[in-house]
Amino acid sequence: MPAGRVVGLVLAVLWSVVPIYWAVKTSLQTEADARSTDTQYVPLRPTLANYARLLTDDGDVPAQIRRSTLNIVVECGLATIVTVVLATLAAYAFARFRFRGRNVFFYAVLATMAFPPYTTLIPLYRIMSLFGLVNTYAGIVLVYVSGFLPLATWVLHNYFASIPQGIEEAGLIDGAGRLQVLRHLLLPLAVPGIISTALITFLFAWGQFLFPLVLSSDLSTQPLTVVIAALQGRHVVPSTLLNAAGVLAIIVPAALALVFNRYIVNGLLAGSAK
């Protein structure tokens, strides 16, 4: 490999990991070390005290972090499950049936992907408040699902469309029903697409901030992202503790991205090939 390319790749990798490294480093330091102008580029006296405090301390800030971690897991998990199930059913129908209005429905669903994300922020808030769903898991999950369904339907549609039809015909001739064919023949083949869709949906949900900022008003539903931003705004929270909270918030998405990167790449590319 030419030297220029090696240098370029090293720079690209550094660009991607240095900010993460810096937060991990800070989270492993005492506040005095982290704030010292005699900067330590590696933690010379590493400590897990910040993590211990977040996980076990009774204080206000750790309790908020723990509760909002539970919230974000519940909200992202539910949103992912609902999105993937509904999108799978619809994508199967769009890919395998002819029915009146199919194209209109399909393009209407896809068209909403062209809306900028915050076009519907205010009306969604007002609809949710009309139905008493502000500050409930249900309200947040409904909004997430409506936002992620178009991409999920599109990605899964492309997967179903790429599966040869002979397989189902054999099943249909054997007398299986359409839903049985979906369940026993098509779904097993679509597993990679379903995993991609679930991962992308989950990661999108995990990254949400403005929607839950508006839709949840207290700790009963606020996800980790909202609580972390609020703690950053209050300058009394030690930066080492804040960085430890930040690291907690990125462990799950970072692990998913590293372990399942092939699925994520395929899903993103399938989703953008418009």
């Binding site: 790749l9 900067t39 990254g207």
Partner: protein, 320 residues
Amino acid sequence: MSSTGSAGVVEAPRGGHAGGGSTPSPARRRRHTTSAGPLPYVLVAPVIIFIAGLAFVPAVFTIVQSFFTVNALDPPTRFSGLSNFRNLLESDAIRSSAANTALYVVVGVTLSTVLGVAMAILLQRPFRGRSLVIAVLILPWALPGVVEGILWSGIFDPNAGLVTSVLGDLGLGGGQVLLGPNRVLTIVLIELVQVWQITPLSVLLVLAALQLIPDELYEAAQIDGCSRWGAIRQITLPLARPGIAVCMVQALVATLNVFDQPYVLNGAAATGATVTMQTYFVSFQNLDFGQGYALSLLITVVTLVGSLLIVKAVYRKVEL
């Protein structure tokens, strides 16, 4: 033929809704896509209901209500023509945030496209460990924007941040407050954080386009004495145009709607406020929803028009 008692694999006549005993017409027979009575409608119904209720209805709401006064502090809701838009255009805060947003967009789209194309070219040819490098490069895309703000506030911190420390250790000063005092610097640095987040997708989109370019083109160019830079300029870039167009559109949509990074890194300070932040302040702090609707509508229109312009200018159908 199928146990659901539907028309099975034989397609019903056009519009043959609900398998109501319609006779299959041979001319319209299709083996692959089949009409199976109400089943497809049942399957798509949940998605359609979600999209209608929580995407189209809200979008119509936004359009209609932007012509109304909808203000919790000034009831009742009433038609007020273009006054929301007039107020927006006359507001100094909005105008300044629009200028800020324009700078975010220019910096963000340019940087993420240049970096995205450069990294994609670095990754174009297979090498050992390439998939690991790609996995690492994707990382910033997967992280929440808010937390990225936290990560980078450690980089920009005036006391012990990475930038200040490195500058200090190199004897170049250091200790400056980077975010806040200077508007342009503040915006450029905050946008750098968003570029960090959106560039991975740009890399993937361009890389996918590069993978379609046959090696023979490069071999032929080499035989003709074309330099590596020449090959990039005359083969890679032109053939990557569809990928570059999509990557610029996603960057445009992301940067026009930037919220998380400036909100976390600079708070409500006017220096780097964006139009999306103004939408939030106007609607949820001033409770002037009408004006919020109008601003959302303007952002939407600008996003759609901008996306179309990029596609027109950059996209070229490529035949290989």
